[in-house]
């Protein structure tokens, strides 16, 4: 009932946020030399270059002042005209920004879904358990665990895991069973005659049908060996991402469990004779999840930073890797496009977080 209104209100609040995001990205763009912008916007190999540049200037509104320029930018952004990018390092790609993103984004989604689901599935029961037993042995271990994984730089974790568990990094290492780069092994057989559900993209990146998530597509297509191969490729990046996210959630959940344990309503629950297990799960955890969920948005923002670093270390063709490539290749519209995309991802994540918050906490659904 009221929840519906909350969601509508929250959806409306996306509009100013989106405007803010576009303004910021636009300002980044506008602050660069306009001649450079115009020539970067188009396919460098296109014929009739001079005319193309003039077209680009018009499309971007470069000569029409900052306000119209912004409106042009808005129009381009929402009609999908995100410009052109030519990448050379480390990804080799040439094409429109949007189709490039379409190529790399699914891999990141796959990574983040696995990491997010895994860390939530582990952290909630674990956090409940240790949060309900402050200062016990389990609590101390849990705190050491979460503080250390919170404090280890994610890129260090990534390179260390890569060395310890990476296939063929150290000769004869029995632990080295996980592939260390890419999303799956392109065997010679796949290279010669790719199955119909694999659409070969540009620059060695492969898009799969129908979900674009390779592990699931391989499962759907019944190619279990490819599915397991792709899954093995995911293990290390997902593990690193999960550990860092897990540590963050665990810290907050534990702290809020301890807060909840000191609350009056828990006393009330005990005074009713509610069994301890139910006091912990229903009364303490339900309340402790509320502050935890509010920090999930922040954690997710830092998770996206982790995605960039991890994709860099594991040469994983996702949008983090793409973002890096656009910077290294000096492709301005690639940089702006990926930044905007990251912003959209975060806005959506924050939306979900707020809805979860409203579901958990009846007090804010006014």
């Amino acid at each position: 009932m009221e929840l519906r209104f909350f969601i509508i209100r929250r959806l409306l609040l996306i509009i100013p946020t989106l405007i803010g995001l576009t303004i910021i990205v636009f300002v980044l763009m506008w602050s660069l030399p306009h001649t450079f912008l115009a020539s970067a916007f188009i396919n460098p190999k296109a014929p009739n270059r001079a005319q193309q540049i003039i077209n680009a200037e018009n499309a971007l509104g470069l000569n029409q002042g900052i306000v119209l320029g912004y409106l042009h930018y808005l129009g381009n952004t929402f009609t999908g005209n995100w410009g052109y990018m030519t990448l050379s390092n480390p990804i080799k790609y040439s094409g429109t920004v949007l189709s490039g993103i379409g190529l790399f984004f699914p891999n990141t989604i796959q990574l983040v879904i696995f990491a997010a689901v895994l860390s939530i599935l582990i952290s909630i029961p674990l956090g409940t358990y240790i949060g309900a037993r402050p200062n016990s042995l389990a609590d101390h271990l849990g705190r050491i665990f979460s503080l250390s994984f919170y404090a280890i730089p994610v890129f260090v974790l990534a390179i260390v895991f890569q060395v310890i568990f990476g296939q063929g990094v150290i000769a004869g290492n029995p632990l080295g069973i996980f592939p260390i780069s890419g999303t799956f092994t392109i065997t010679s057989q796949i290279a010669i005659s790719p199955p119909s559900w694999l659409i070969s993209g540009v620059g060695g990146v492969v898009l799969s049908k129908p979900t674009h998530l390779i592990v699931f597509d391989a499962l759907i297509a019944g190619d279990y060996s490819l599915a397991s191969n792709a899954f093995m490729h995911l293990v290390l990046p997902v593990l690193v991402l999960t550990l860092s996210l897990l540590a963050g959630i665990l810290r907050f959940l534990r702290a809020s469990m301890v807060d909840a344990a000191n609350s009056e309503y828990v006393k009330t629950a005990r005074s009713k004779g509610v069994p301890e297990g139910k006091v912990i799960k229903l009364h303490m955890r339900r309340n402790a999840l509320i502050p935890t969920v509010t920090v999930l948005g922040l954690l997710f923002a830092s998770l996206l930073g982790g995605v960039v670093l991890i994709e860099d270390v594991f040469d994983y063709p996702g949008i983090g890797y793409l973002a890096l490539s656009t910077i290294l290749s000096g492709s301005i519209f690639g940089v702006l496009g990926t930044t905007f995309l990251f912003g959209i991802v975060l806005i959506s994540a924050n939306l979900l977080v707020d809805i979860a918050y409203a579901i958990l906490d009846p007090r804010i659904r006014y």
Partner: protein, 318 residues
């Protein structure tokens, strides 16, 4: 102890109220009793001492900039030579081994701390000051000011800060200053949100209402009631943020290094990236040792922050 004095004929049964000084004093005493927080405090202080020492007395490490450091290194031209392992036999420079191109790790890491800490502190304090002022004003005045500040912070919260920092750095051009600028731009909204909420809470406290009723000006109330009340959770946040920012800072330079940029800043993340390729040969120290310096600092400020939160939150006091 404090309340034991029996005051006769005072006509009041309420226990004597602690003065602010006594309160701060007892808070500090409680903090001192929290062993983990003390460990965190001591480590943090040592880190900052090293950084300060290196700034005021550069000869101590002698590596204030790497080009001079490079000149000092015997066999510097042998770039392809492998790093040497930690060894206590020679000069203290080599106690923790060397990294890429035989740069000695110990003095360079200590030198890098100076830069990392200086910029981290700068970022956090500028972010904090802007955030606290903006947030307190928004929370105190409410209405349209509040709404605008909330929407602006909303925008910043929807910026993936790492990617955004990279983008800013790309547009402005790569340099320390620009990285710092980018992180400052990103960092203030956290404080604005935090202090806004606290200001909102403080505003409705009885004594603030009383002082408003007695005609105190808005500025006075802000400065003497709202901001002081906002600050204690902010201290906790600062403490935790020192860890986050130093990591972010290092991460950006790690990327710069691992992507093959050819600048040679003395920075911990960058140092880690120079050692990355040796790991597979079992040469762990170029990566692990600088990482440990980072990790220990992050753990220390977090312990300190947690300890601070425990003593500042009267609910958890015991």
């Amino acid at each position: 102890m404090v309340q034991e004095t029996v005051v006769r004929n005072e006509g009041q049964l309420q226990p004597k109220r602690h003065s602010r000084f006594e309160n701060a004093n007892s808070t500090f005493r409680l903090f001192l009793k929290n062993r983990l927080a003390m460990v965190g405090l001591v480590i943090t202080v040592i880190y900052f001492a090293i950084a300060v020492l290196d700034s005021v007395y550069p000869q101590w490490l002698g590596v204030s900039n790497l080009s001079t450091a490079l000149n000092f290194i015997p066999g510097h031209s042998a770039n392809l030579a492998l790093p040497t392992a930690p060894s206590f036999s020679g000069s203290w420079w080599f106690w923790l081994g060397t990294t890429y191109s035989r740069i000695p790790i110990l003095p360079v890491v200590l030198g890098a701390l100076r830069i990392d800490l200086a910029y981290t502190v700068l970022i956090v304090f500028v972010g904090m000051s802007v955030g606290v002022i903006v947030g307190s004003i928004a929370g105190y005045f409410g209405g349209i000011v509040d709404e605008i500040v909330m929407r602006v912070t909303d925008v910043f919260f929807s910026l993936p800060f790492f990617v955004f920092a990279l983008a800013i750095v790309y547009v402005l051009g790569f340099s320390f200053t620009n990285v710092v600028l980018a992180l400052m731009i990103i960092w203030w909204p956290t404080y604005a949100r935090l202090s806004r909420g606290l200001a909102l809470e403080t505003k409705s406290l009885k004594y603030v209402e009383a002082s408003r009723a007695s005609g105190a000006s808005n500025f006075r109330i802000l400065v003497s009631h709202i901001i002081p009340n906002v600050l204690s959770p902010v201290y906790v946040q600062i403490s935790l943020d020192l860890g986050s920012v130093i990591q972010l800072f290092a991460a950006i330079f790690f990327l710069v290094g691992s992507l093959g940029a050819s600048a040679y800043p003395i920075e911990i993340g960058y140092m880690i990236s120079t050692g990355e390729s040796y790991l597979a040969q079992g040469i762990w120290w170029p990566v692990i040792i600088p990482s440990l310096f980072l990790l220990v600092f992050t753990v220390a400020v977090n312990l300190m922050g947690d300890g601070l939160r425990d003593v500042l939150d009267p609910k958890l006091r015991r």
